[in-house]
């Protein structure tokens, strides 16, 4: 029964992944990504990793779907198809079918699968990962920490320093988002917040700032590049 469930969930996972890649409707892609996360959560539950499944369902299927939808509200839900120019059609450019990337992907995948052949089988109690610190945690957690859920005692107590690092990473992510998204908001001299032009990334990895602050603190659009070094912004 468990094996059947595994196969069904994995088949659904693969199908959903293919559908995400194939679809051109970004709204459908976001929804499918949420379904993908929910299916992974189901798979984790079958593997008895309920804490991980919980996180996956809450973060993957919940929050990231909402964030992606918020992004879609700004950028629209259609993939922009490149416009063919008349010259391209008249020259009858043959449809390129790049073979080399496919070969690279196949070879890499083959090597990875070959690598997994040497790995110990899943769930075997003789595996190195079950022989290192796991027995100590499982045996001593009850009288050292006194918390029934060993995951909590490992996460918060034995590995408390790691969790501190993770919390800091989450905090740092917010700082990064704040810097990126709120750098465009400037207050004018009347104390009202105004939106400026964005910092537009160029092809060369730099940023072209499209606004500047005037002497009295008001924002002015940056003057156009006359020699065209701005690179098509």
């Amino acid at each position: 029964m468990g094996v059947l469930l595994d196969f069904a969930l994995l088949a659904f996972l693969a199908t959903t992944a293919l559908a995400v890649v194939r679809t051109t409707n970004l709204f459908a892609a976001v929804m499918l990504a949420g379904i993908y996360s929910l299916l992974s959560a189901g798979l984790f539950t079958v593997m008895d990793a309920v804490d991980v499944a919980f996180t996956e369902a809450a973060v993957g299927a919940g929050i990231s779907t909402v964030l992606l939808l918020a992004t879609l509200a700004l950028v629209g839900s259609k993939v922009k198809t490149p416009q063919l120019r008349i010259t391209d059609i008249s020259a009858k450019v043959p449809l390129r079918r790049p073979i080399f990337p496919l070969v690279v992907v196949l070879v890499t995948g083959g090597i990875l699968i070959y690598g997994t052949l040497d790995m110990p089988s899943y769930g075997n109690p003789e595996n190195p990962i079950h022989q290192h610190v796991a027995p100590r945690y499982l045996e001593d957690s009850a009288h050292e920490i006194g918390v029934p859920n060993v995951v909590t005692s490992v996460l918060a107590s034995y590995r408390g320093f790691d969790t501190f690092g993770e919390t800091t990473v989450v905090f740092t992510a917010l700082v990064g988002v704040m810097i990126l998204l709120s750098a465009m908001r400037r207050k004018d001299r009347f104390g009202e917040e105004r939106w400026g032009e964005e910092n537009v990334p160029t092809l060369y990895g730099g940023f072209v700032t499209k606004f500047r602050l005037d002497q009295d603190g008001r924002m002015k659009a940056a003057p156009e590049d006359r020699d065209g070094e701005g690179g098509g912004t």
Binding site: I63, S157, T167, M178
Partner: protein, 141 residues
């Protein structure tokens, strides 16, 4: 979406339940699946649902941006503060045994505080990121 009566009524019923469930996940994490991270995300999800249905402006009235930003930092400070407290009480960093007379009780207090810190940070970060995404390019907020 605020003109949809069914959505509004359903949201009003669901949001308190989600908040309560988040607290259950938080404080029941010692006994079952769950913990600070999941509880923070679920707590944030309640406010995000409210914002989706009732709009950002009303959510800002309930939960201003400075509050969520403060939450994000306060959580990390709680976590680090517990670590420094254990050092001050003569243990190693994040060694909860010294927090109470009985080491097991100390571990309980430590885990409770640390999970509280994780929940506060995760809640603040999730809502703040949503605020920043949703308020982008809008003049009326």
């Amino acid at each position: 979406m605020s003109d949809q009566v069914i959505l509004r009524v359903a949201t009003k019923i669901i949001v308190p339940t989600i908040l309560l469930y988040a607290l259950y996940v938080q404080f029941h994490g010692d006994f079952g699946p769950g913990g600070g991270f999941q509880a923070g995300v679920i707590f944030a999800a309640a406010f995000i649902l409210y914002a989706l249905v009732f709009g950002l402006r009303r959510t800002h009235n309930v939960l201003p941006t400075w509050v969520v930003r403060a939450c994000a930092s306060i959580g990390v400070l709680i976590y680090g503060g517990v670590g420094l407290l254990t050092v001050a009480l003569g243990g190693a960093f994040l060694d909860y045994n010294v927090l109470a007379h009985d080491p097991v009780h100390g571990q309980h207090y430590g885990i409770l505080l640390v999970e509280l810190g994780v929940m506060t940070t995760v809640f603040g970060v999730m809502v703040a990121i949503f605020y920043f995404f949703a308020a982008r390019g809008r003049q009326d907020l």
